[in-house]
């Protein structure tokens, strides 16, 4: 583990450096507070620090305050080293953001023990961050395919549409539904069905650009947004994705399963201002048309001359009829 040592006095620095190296730390040693703060504030800077109290440029408590100002970085565990022993000095040191306080000259064993305490706290922080990230992932992703879940993909679509309108750009919305997926489950079993969904997700993600979004919309339905694309590109890419999905059977534990997908495609620029729900209704109608046309094809949602009536908008979504 990396540790920063900041001490203007060369003997102290050498002694600390050697003691820490012997204890297995990767040491960075600096001779003033400014250098210490700069080092600790680097994104990948050391997370353990031994700081002399009195230093030129910036003292130990000053370094602690600088480091604590930064909220977006991992926690840095800081120990102040000093010959100050008065109670008010200890209080001032800890108030500045230091985690611990050690009187000089230090005892090597005590110093190492206190650093082990610091390491335990940093390990605990790492585990908490890992758990939080895991929970964040679970809350935003589909458990089977690891794609964005329905709530998130709709939110991303909403944001993307707002941006596209503001910048007068086009977003292509693709709603796909695996063809005859019920038959896959009935013929090959649900385990193979899950494998097909996972592989479909993988093929979708590999077919789009890094800044496009792919989400699982429902059982065997997928929503893809091709961001900032012109209509011709949207059409071509939709067709390419469809072909990629159907190109090879999916190798499952129950054997190879041939698959295909039908897509409804909507190019946002052609639709003016409509809500996400309204646009999804339109693209779903296009998907329904693709199914009706024999499946394994892409149908584009075409705006009607007149705005859709409230009755039509409130109609039962086509996906419920498939």
């Amino acid at each position: 583990m990396r540790i920063l040592i900041a001490d203007d006095e060369l003997m102290s620095r050498r002694l600390l450096e050697k003691t820490m190296q012997r204890a297995g730390y990767d040491v960075t040693a600096v001779e003033n507070g400014q250098l210490a703060a700069a080092e600790l504030c680097k994104p990948e800077g050391p997370r353990l620090a031994l700081l002399d109290w009195i230093m030129p440029e910036l003292d130990g408590p000053g370094v602690c305050r600088e480091v604590r100002k930064r909220k977006d970085h991992s926690y840095v565990y800081m120990i102040l080293l000093t010959s100050k022993e008065k109670k008010e000095d200890v209080v001032a040191g800890l108030e500045s953001g230091a985690d611990d306080y050690l009187t000089k000259p230090f005892d090597p064993e005590e110093l190492k023990a206190r650093l082990r305490t610091g390491k335990r706290i940093l390990d605990l922080e790492d585990r908490l961050i890992e758990a939080r990230e895991e929970m964040r992932f679970q809350a935003t992703h589909d458990a089977l395919t690891s794609l964005w879940n329905r709530g998130v993909i709709m939110e991303l679509l909403g944001r993307e549409l707002t941006r596209a309108r503001r910048e007068n750009k086009c977003t292509a919305i693709l709603l796909g539904d695996l063809d005859h997926f019920k038959n896959v489950n009935d013929t090959y079993g649900h385990l193979a069905g899950d494998e097909v969904l996972k592989e479909t997700a993988r093929r979708l993600v590999s077919s789009v650009r890094s800044y496009d979004f792919v989400g699982r919309f429902g059982g065997e339905e997928f929503l893809v947004t091709l961001n900032n694309c012109d209509p011709a590109f949207g059409l071509a890419r939709a067709e390419k994705i469809r072909k990629t999905i159907a190109e090879n059977p999916v190798e499952t534990s129950a054997g190879p399963v041939p698959i295909s997908i039908s897509f409804g495609l909507l190019l946002s620029q052609e639709w003016g201002y409509m809500s996400v729900v309204e646009l999804l209704h339109e693209v779903d109608t296009a998907l329904y048309a693709a199914k009706a046309a024999g499946r394994n094809c892409v149908k584009v949602a075409a705006p009607k001359a007149q705005p859709a009536s409230p009755r039509e908008l409130a109609a039962e979504p086509a996906w419920r009829r498939r």
Partner: protein, 117 residues
Amino acid sequence: MAKNLIDLGELLERTENDRELMKDLLTIFKEEFPQRHQALREAVQSLNATHVALEAHALKGMLSNLAAPEASASVAEIERLGRNNETSRFLESFSRFEAIAKELSRQVEDCMAEVSG
């Protein structure tokens, strides 16, 4: 015979019996101490209490690391006088420290020879 101003046992403990490190520390001390000593002398002569406290503090750190308790205590007293702005007692305390420092420098040489041998 002059008393030992360096507690070799403590220094060994502090360096975890690393003789190379001890040698390093003694070498650094030999190089740094005269400059720090001179800086303190100048601060004392100019009766600048802030500088006296700062220079004495720096020397105290070096002497603590060398496990030289008597010299460290002597310079700690000068630091205290500096912090309290007791300028009238600077020269008296500094002369006491100089006597200790002279003997300490001699003992550092002996210590160096012992560690190197």
